[in-house]
């Protein structure tokens, strides 16, 4: 996976917390939009589709497309409608369907 972020932050925050995504630690801005923060951290794909297992990432950023689905504490949630809080344990949604491409 390409971990160089395709985004540049023009006003970075220094109020940071730690979360994990698929077991790996990430330092993200507290209270920020989760999907945006994960994208900034260099994560490109958030879930696999239940049908073919194809990788997907945020598409609309406004809660409409559901391509940003992640699992948090066993619950499937839209990352673009979730705020970063300390200690979030995030996993890819439907990663059992995923292709070996990490």
């Amino acid at each position: 996976m390409n971990n160089a972020s395709p985004f540049h932050n023009i006003s970075p925050s220094d109020d940071l917390v730690t979360v994990t995504f698929d077991g790996i630690e990430y330092i993200l801005p507290d209270g920020a939009n989760l999907a945006a923060s994960l994208l900034e951290a260099g994560l490109r794909y958030f879930r696999n589709t239940p049908v073919s297992g194809a990788p997907r990432g945020p598409f609309c950023m406004m809660g409409a497309c559901y391509d940003c689905l992640v699992e948090i504490d066993g619950e499937t949630r839209q990352a673009c409608m979730t705020e970063v809080t300390s200690g979030l344990k995030i996993e890819r949604a439907h990663r059992d369907k995923g292709l070996e491409n990490d």
Binding site: P6, I10, A36, L39, R44, R56
Partner: protein, 467 residues
């Protein structure tokens, strides 16, 4: 159950101005919105965005602050992070905040649920790294993120605005690949005399284009056969122009083919809708006050037909005035007196629309996607699948669901509905109105059984309290 005079769904320009207008007249107002702060997508996060962001996003964005401030001073109950999942014909609205469900009874309801990006089914549009142009703007407004090594492609003035903002942020797009053609522009020209009433926007457009040119950004119009390449994420975008194929390596692709009304809520209420051939989308049928085919429900702003932020703000106020009159707060004469100047401004605001609709139509490629292009992102149904269903006798979108699950995933058809209607209309030779659209049933967004349980508990407790 809480009872209020007016429930408003959506805190964008239409919802905010409706709330302020109604509250100032003395109506009790409950404003429900999905986001943590007021503004809608257009003014998203405007109250918190710092100066750097404000400078990049420009005055049309920071203007939203006025609306947000006006809202704060009026007596409005604004519930943030609220997911509305059911709206009843009688004005009851069910919503959840942090997994806890509530029910409110409005004497009237204004739906101000805004627009969605038109679906852009082209090869590769499901790859990670492909986003809507609107998403790129939200990332900038909400989180201060600017896309790097991005290509913007499609059709519509929003493309120029985003490009300019990226240039200002020091990260110009690698290229702007537009699908509209010279003949689209020629077709639009007959609307130009009328459009001159919207000269401010024309000037703004010209300024954006010259800024893009000065920055040296590659720009192509009349591009065809767009194809996004990559296996697990975007690597490049290819297109043809005058028969020549060009390929651009990039990190991100930002797609835009205009915006369309978000009709999930209005469809769930079975309001009457009509097809707009100029904007190629469905919109709920409303009168000049935004009143829908149901006496309790109004639709204001882009959700009733695309007109942009200012027109939406005006529409919100106009609907609120009608609600205030209908509930006996103001006289008819008072309503008309207050509405007249707003209606005049609104007609000037909308003057440019017919020109824009003709100059920036959705491309043929997205209206008639190739057979192997995925059109339903959730269930991965292709255009060829839909055409095959049509050959098997499928005439409408709801039947198509049964044939192959299109529209049955979590997005509930938000990003395939229009494409399915277009495809079935082409295949069966009937009008989009006759083909119709997906039935939308509540919940409008997935909710858990736990949320339903909390709602039942509150309602039972309340009933007990009454006895």
């Amino acid at each position: 159950m809480t009872e209020v005079d007016l429930v408003i769904v959506g805190a964008g320009p239409a919802g905010m101005s409706a709330a302020v207008t109604a509250a100032e007249i003395g109506l009790s107002v409950l404003l429900l919105d999905e986001q943590p702060a007021a503004g809608g997508q257009i003014y998203r996060n405007v109250a918190k965005a710092d100066e750097t962001r404000g400078d990049i996003l420009g005055k049309d964005y920071t203007y939203g602050l006025e609306l947000v401030t006006a809202m704060r001073s009026a007596s409005i109950t604004h519930v943030t992070d609220a997911t509305v999942w059911k709206i009843g014909e009688d004005g009851t609205v069910a919503y959840s905040v942090n997994g806890k469900a509530s029910l409110v009874q409005g004497r009237k309801v204004i739906l101000a649920t805004g627009a969605l990006e038109r679906p852009v089914p082209i090869p590769g549009w499901t790859l990670p790294g492909v986003m809507t142009a609107g998403a790129a703007q939200i990332l900038l407004k909400q989180s201060g993120l600017v896309a790097e090594r991005a290509v913007i492609c499609g059709s519509g003035p929003l493309i120029y605005l985003i490009a300019q903002q990226m240039i200002r942020a020091g990260k110009p797009p690698l290229a702007i690949i537009e699908t509209q053609t010279k003949s689209d522009l020629l077709n639009a020209m007959r609307h130009l005399p009328h459009a001159l009433r919207g000269w401010r926007y024309l000037m703004k457009g010209a300024k954006l284009l010259s800024e893009i040119k000065r920055a040296g950004v590659m720009r192509v119009t009349g591009a065809e056969n767009l194809e996004i390449e990559g296996d697990t994420e975007v690597r490049a975008i290819a297109f043809t122009h005058r028969g020549q194929t060009t390929r651009i390596q990039c990190n991100l692709v930002l797609l835009h083919q205009g915006v369309v009304p978000n009709t999930q809520a209005t469809r769930s209420l079975r309001l009457e809708h009509a097809w707009s051939s100029a904007q190629r989308c469905f919109h709920p049928i409303t009168n000049e006050w935004g009143l829908s085919s149901l006496e309790t429900v109004y639709v204001a702003g882009d959700g009733a037909g695309i007109g942009g932020a200012k027109a939406a703000e005006q529409a919100g106020a106009i609907s609120a005035l009608h609600v205030a009159f209908a509930l006996g707060f103001i006289t008819k004469a008072d309503r008309d007196k207050r509405a007249a100047p707003i209606l005049r401004l609104q007609s000037a605001e909308l003057a440019l629309r017919p020109f824009l609709d003709r100059a920036y139509p959705p491309s043929d490629q997205v209206l008639k996607p190739a057979d192997d292009t995925v059109i339903c992102r959730c269930e991965e149904v292709t255009a060829g699948d839909i055409r095959a269903y049509a050959r098997l006798g499928c005439t409408g979108p709801n039947q198509a669901k049964a044939f192959g699950r299109s529209g049955m995933g979590p997005c509930q058809g938000r990003y395939c509905g229009l494409t399915v209607t277009e495809l079935l209309s082409q295949e069966t030779g009937t009008t989009p109105d006759a083909v119709g659209s997906y039935h939308i049933r509540p919940p409008l967004k997935p909710i858990t059984l736990g949320e339903l349980a909390t709602l039942e508990q509150t309602l039972t407790d309340e009933t007990k309290g009454l006895i």
